[in-house]
Amino acid sequence: MAIIQGFLYVLHPSHFPFLFLGVAGGIIVGAIPGLTGSVGIILLLPFIYQLDASTAIVMLCGMFCGAIYGGSISAILISIPGTPSAAATVLDGYPLAQKGEAGKAIGIATIASTTGGIISTFCLMFIAPQLARFALKFGPEEYFALMIFGLTIIASVSGESLVKGLISGFFGLLIATIGLDPITGYARFSFNIPNLMTGFPLLPVLIGLFAISQIFIQLEAVGEKSRHFRQKIKNVLPSFKELKRLSTVIIASSFLGTFIGIIPGTGGTIASFLAYSEAKRWSKNPESFGKGNIIGVAAPEAANNGTTGGAMVPLLSLGIPGDVITAVMLGALLLIGIRPGPLLFKEHPEIINSIFAGMLLANVLILLLGILSVRLFPQVLRTPAAILFPVIFTLCFLGAFSLNNSVYDMFIALVFGIIGYIMRKNNFPAAPVVLGVVLGPIAEDELGRALIISHGDWTVLFQSPLAIFFYVISIFSLLSSLKRQFSIHSKTK
């Protein structure tokens, strides 16, 4: 069995510590409000360059799973979700903490997250190889259509304003056009500046847009009173009777989260709120929700960690990200020299098996770390901003420098930090920029190849039924985002 080889690889003493560090680091960045899984992955990048591809990707997966779980800790203890996907956990998690049952709430969140993560990884192991096998039949025109579909996810992650989200996405695409043209090798918009010939390096762009801009935003919060959790945490494990009562909702929410995660453009926030409302709808005691019902913690936590494996399905098998964090993951994978897609399954099955084994073990580690280190969580939340953010700020610049030993890269990180800050302050989301920067060159490359094969005949793009299918779902994806925007605007009026 190939998966056993994956387990043997991940459990090897020279690889396992990296998974452990990834999960532990993920839990910490997820738990600290102001830091997200995306920032954690970006801060990890300078180090994982030095590792072999499988170890690097296993560490990234650990960070991804850990961060999604970590968000629940601050949601329960101080009513501030560490990550957006933990927002639904606040509703019942914080009332439980106020009742003196913070330990039990974290225990339930840990068990639900682990179950959600494991179920979704099994679904990933089952679905992704089938989808990848099918995708192997794709030619450049189908790939181009797929990338167009991937780019329509920009609309889904646009946040409050579709126009601003699309502008961010096209701005990202524009950034991606700087440097060598993938077909002719012509240096576009380089103005004979050698550094611009290869375009903007991806790592400093990511560091700037996500991490440095976040530090500038945190600077604004200086002086604000931070919330602390001062109770003693006890009784972490729920009783067997409670676990039995929760088992149905945890399993159902895990599958719901996995299914939502597979759909590109959705993500953990939608999954967790949907699981919460479904659990409330099916409950015999719906009025207890919002007042500290343990089901209200289990359902969103199972669902948001359920999206981890789900979101990896389109990322690994097709090379298109499912949400913001997987968009950053895609950028990270490209940086370490791995291009996700069907060929990865064919040419590097050992990497795929390491990912599957790594994600399963990451969830087991979440269970162990979550239960054993629960009393340390309030200390993590007490980390002073005046120490944390200056340290991260330094780490950002050294990280940007480390890739090419280049001061120019540090400068690029600073410039994109300022751009990212201005954009975020004016409600322009940063995630579409990343999607544009990452998917733009791939789309252009596939378009160029399709046109070379067809001797410049553009109709080739519309001859494949599969390509047409992708165009249709792209239009559907855009229209559904438009519809959502209109409904939000009509509600606010």
Partner: protein
């Protein structure tokens, strides 16, 4: 917000127009994809979206003008801190290759801590030195990533 939207839409319009015009300097390719096609398409879309944002901004100006804008002292202090932070980072990128990691990093960390309202002097000195040492161990010793050294030339 509406005035800022107008300003940003104008900036994006200028960027997209400049990019579009610059593509006319690119060599023409007839067989496959010309290097100009993709940037032209993207800049045209960006221009259209910027116009949409401009219209949105103009519509919003009326609403904004009814609300009296209060620029608090706290906000002004923040802007000053933000500018100082950017300046600090800029000087760090300039000084690092000359002074080297060990000399440039402690003042950088200390400066950032000061801007984050840390007032305890001993704490600032201790954290900036410990951070510099720990990051050196992490980058240089554990991951073997070279860091800039002191150099006069």
């Amino acid at each position: 917000m509406a005035k800022k939207e107008i300003l940003l839409s104008i900036i994006f319009m200028i960027i997209s127009m400049t990019i579009y015009i610059l593509t006319y300097q690119f060599p023409q390719q007839t067989v496959a994809l010309s290097p100009a096609v993709f940037p032209r398409f993207v800049s045209a879309c960006l221009f259209i979206l910027s116009v949409a944002l401009l219209i949105q901004g103009i519509a919003g100006v009326k609403k904004d003008s009814e609300q009296k804008k209060v620029q608090s002292t706290i906000y002004k202090v923040f802007i000053l801190k933000l500018l100082l932070m950017i300046l600090l980072a800029f000087f760090y990128t300039r000084i690092l290759p000359i002074a080297g990691y060990a000399v440039a990093t402690p003042p950088f960390v200390a400066g950032a801590m000061l801007l984050f309202n840390e007032k305890r002097g001993i704490w600032i000195i201790a954290v900036s030195i410990i951070t510099t040492a720990l990051l050196y161990i992490l980058f240089r010793i554990v991951f073997k990533i070279p860091l800039p050294r002191f150099s006069l030339f």
